[in-house]
Symmetry: D2
Subunit: 372 residues, 4 copies
């Protein structure tokens, strides 16, 4: 009988659904060496109990402290608004709970640094849910890069575009308010593109940026978060990077795309066609980008699912992420991306913000490993 890991989930809305689903589905497909138990769902609202029942949670609470203080809980997932991440994580670490935290890790680098220090000191497994690392095609991209099949990386192009508030009549929500959301496209999309860049192209050396608000008033309230941002990067390796995040890019529903170009080849990927990886390897007279369906049993995560050619969806990334998290717990080693990745991500985001404000290139500080 495998060791059981009692999980508490703090947050029960959109992300709560995605995480619950991941925990519910995981044992059907993966064996991380431990068995997750859906112990406690924490949330606020009349629908909490009904939601917990439908999702399969054994108990509920409206106080996150109950989760943290429950000695039966082994691991917590933090899905709350960003302003609570730090406080909850510090408490959880103090209580020795393993932590999977939604991204961005915190409100800023300072908070993230405290969280990372606490987690490292507590000796727990800590992870930030940059789930797109767990798309099979993205994991394959990483593998091909690590094998050297692209050679030295020259550029990394990445954009994350949506258009949900394109209509100026789109109702005012918290995401338009800087005091609540921190930022606009840079908050929810920026951290994803920065993580993919760090994962595939390495650490950032310096950045330049600009942001813009295209619709400055909605429902007679001022919009104070960016609708879009562009930023350019010099990586430590010398590679150049080019980024766009936008919530006002007409026709794009959830288009997270990258292209990475190296001395021997290129790779391209788009979340809207997440099962496909475009691969170019230089050489020969009939060369070209080839469209690889990343569903073969030899591809990352794919063997656990269906036969070749049977495509996966967005939500599977969460299942893979929990698999990595639980495997880390089972094998008593730190899974990636860790809180250190979350911290470095914030350091980049902070630098981008400064670069935009000061209208010049800014060097990105490099926090080293806690025990280094």
């Amino acid at each position: 009988m495998k060791r059981q890991i009692n999980v508490g989930l703090i947050g029960h809305k959109f992300m709560g659904k995605a995480h619950s689903h991941a925990l519910r589905d995981l044992p059907m497909f993966f064996d991380p060496g431990v068995e997750p138990v859906m112990k406690t769902l924490c949330g606020v609202g009349d629908d909490l109990d009904e939601t917990a029942r439908r999702y399969g949670w054994l108990s509920t609470t409206q106080r996150w402290q109950d989760v943290i203080e429950d000695p039966a809980i082994d691991a917590v997932s933090i899905l709350t608004p960003g302003k609570l991440h730090c406080e909850i994580a510090l408490a959880a670490a103090a209580n020795g709970k393993h932590i999977l935290c939604e991204k961005p890790l915190a409100l800023n680098s300072a908070e993230a640094a405290r969280m990372y220090a606490a987690a490292a000191a507590a000796g727990i497994c800590h992870m930030v849910n940059f789930n797109y690392r767990r798309v099979p095609a993205v994991a394959l991209a990483k593998q091909l890069i690590d094998e050297g099949r692209l050679g030295a990386i020259y550029h990394f192009q990445c954009s994350y575009q949506q258009d949900w508030p394109l209509d100026p009549a789109c109702p005012y929500i918290w995401r338009f308010d800087k005091t609540v959301a921190g930022a606009g496209s840079m908050a929810d999309k920026g951290s994803h593109v920065v993580d993919l860049a760090r994962y595939l192209a390495g650490e950032f050396a310096e950045v330049s940026a600009a942001t813009e608000i295209f619709v400055r008033e909605r429902q007679q309230r001022a919009v104070t978060t960016d609708d879009a941002a562009v930023f350019t990067v010099r990586f430590e390796s010398g590679a150049l990077g080019l980024f766009l995040t936008s919530r006002m890019s007409a026709g794009h529903k959830n288009s997270l795309a990258f292209e990475v170009n190296g001395s021997r080849g290129s790779l391209a990927w788009n979340l809207e066609r997440l099962n496909e990886l475009q691969v170019y390897e230089a050489g020969g007279s009939v060369a070209g980008f080839r469209n690889v369906m990343v569903t073969e049993s030899s591809h990352p995560y794919a063997a656990a699912w269906w036969p070749a050619g049977h495509v996966l969806g967005w939500e599977h990334t969460f299942i893979h992420q929990y698999y990595e998290f639980l495997k880390g717990i089972a094998e008593q080693r730190q899974p990636a991306p860790s809180f250190l990745d979350g911290l470095r991500n914030h350091q980049v985001l902070d630098s981008i913000e400064r670069a935009a404000a000061e209208k010049r290139w800014i060097e990105v500080p490099q926090m080293k490993e806690a025990n280094a």
Copy 2:
């Protein structure tokens, strides 16, 4: 409290996994008006109990009769090899169980006719698992056609291509043996393309066909099932149809694709990009096929899942199919595609086989509704 529907699943391999997953996931996303209970998993093999535990079944048995005869069971899903479908379905109907049967419904039209008659007489809900009707993009295609946005249908082009046994060294399996599998590409792929054609373009009037075995011997055993088939169709509406099924189409892993052309527009779709529907509507000077991401809350099934732009995978079709099946049970009306659809599908397949054998066009008989 919703009425509970106890389900028995007969078959626990590839399809057993897909169906189990569908039943397990469904309550998180859909409310068909009844609540499925994963009562009994029936299968043969040492891994049955462990599988049942991982998938979430309450009990197991190695005899399908136990499922059929269990008074607590309300509905059964038949996922066995085709040669058992008829016997099990007749027994299940006799015992008043609702039935979801894998496709093709039976071994031939004669069996299918008996199954349909029995199911209709028993007054149960009966359904064949032509799951691709439940891809949101395919359901949207159906909706657009029904709304008349394509006008009269002129042609229906459809192919289902894979390449798993492309290598002549691919080991001999039961699918190469006509006495066991009945047919090759026509058996597993033919019924799917015929169902999509009937769903989107209407009933078949007459067919012509040819089949071929490209690798005639594998591991020193004769291959007796078709590697590929081509067939052409005249629909009752006067539309022309064009079909290819092949397991030897290099580069295609699971490529089920159609294009339907009408007097006002066209639609195109491919299972390998299942969240997208290509839509052409005639008119204007900047017309063209547009690529619709079928993930909007206004699109079929999509509202139950994630925000726009978050793509679904292959397995979701099974969840949607169970939703339709259970809703039929809840509302006491016959879901589609029914055993009559399964029967008509067989009548087309039988006609295709005859057309290939007799090298001429063959009229497809039209079985009418049982009570008509």
Copy 3:
């Protein structure tokens, strides 16, 4: 100084423009070993002289006999309506003129056979303008197949779709009248798809077919030519073929597309993206169709044009065709596709017509080389 070849062009409308352009452009890019001189343009209409001047012809005539009988003319191009092809070609052959004839070669196999016999007897260079063989990507496809990179051919899928008369209000023209046009989609599109099939997949053994007229009356006149045709083929090699020709396929302007699948790989191409060839070669774990831009100097015809990545258009096929024709004249050897190819093409088309009429598979007769 290179030998000059005086050319006479019979026909001055759409095809006359394309051919004139080819002759005018050719010397800038290719050296076939002789130098074409644009001697005489033959046509009917008030615009003939002005057209000749703009296109660069030295003289004009309204009688095709003047061209055939002019001792200074070395080669003639026949671009008239199909009903004149045979008479003009026989006269041209009798006068020892080399002939480039528009496709389809004649009205039927009988005429084509007479034309081929006359041309072969006269010892002239004779060619049918199946210009799509001369798209660099198509010529590369042929090369890859001949090199064995696809292995044995299993299927050839091909369609030629347009939608110009989709609107039922499209005015009645000669193409709707069987007594004038011979056929509809099968006449202008059928000969092209059959030629590509013969070029890439080899000779036809037997065919089955169906045709349909979707709009049976236009401007109160009966439409008597097919709007669309579907046909299936067994090639002599055992490969299966699948074809659609349609002038009523909404959204397709000039979509001539094929896919050829073999034991080691597949190729796909579409005239609307004529510079690209999709190439799949089996093997490896990151396989996929790769999109080859066929503009490298190592690719057929490409070195004569621009640097890699600079795409060609539709009209370039005519230039390449004249290059092959003139090179044949210069080197005193028969260029391809010859009148024998034109004849075999008609034999296939005639068989398709019979197959549709008799509703059964028809064997395609195989005319052999004239001197065989």
Copy 4:
């Protein structure tokens, strides 16, 4: 009889071929109101006379002054290396010749300003050959934007990627030497992307940039021009821009691509598929990017060519450009893009260079119309 315009072409290599072809082809398809005569080809090399004969030039010279001073010459095209542009253009303007100059207009803004002033003072037609404005799909994009169908522009994303020197063993040529070429990817590609941006999204307000040399030594000589550049832009309208130019982007042969996103829709285009424009217009529940084949007679330039669906190639842009140039001469009005566009282009490029050097955002100066 139309007025004849005697043209002199200075430069006879790659661009000489493209321009000669344009002049030779133009009268077959377009009537600009005057008739170009291919009077004099100026170049250096043993192949000049043979080249002139093949291209159709009446005379040749090895001295550009001969062209400028020939009273019979009405218009000159300057295709020399950039360092000669200014001197030749000033002389040509002084002699009252109309001028079509290759891009970039000069070596820097200062030269460009002198050229613009001289041309404006001379009252001649002056044009820079930013030929991609003349791709029908790009011209259609401009038209749709001008009609307001995209609403306010929010972002303009543009990249120009090639990979010809990807191999470090690629021989050292003049393009790697800053003293000769001025810049690397920014020189030949930067001016194109800046022109498309100005054409479609308006004037630049400020820029930030970074450049990189990835292969620093070739054949034991130092490479001193940029392999790639990234730059970001704030347009005067408030739109954000994002640019990449690279000659080291594996798999890209001649990939010039843009996407423009506005408040009501988006457009996307790629030179490698130059006949296609992706158009997204917000609204409706089956919205998506639609792929418009820009070959309809209602589309810019297309009516002059072939029926709908017959695609054009790269070289056609030069024909369209000469059509605009000659029409300007015929109608005595200034064609676009003029030397003022060439000057503004340089001002942007100069600002980009400064921004990269100073590592901060730089305001782009705005030269106004000469007579403003």
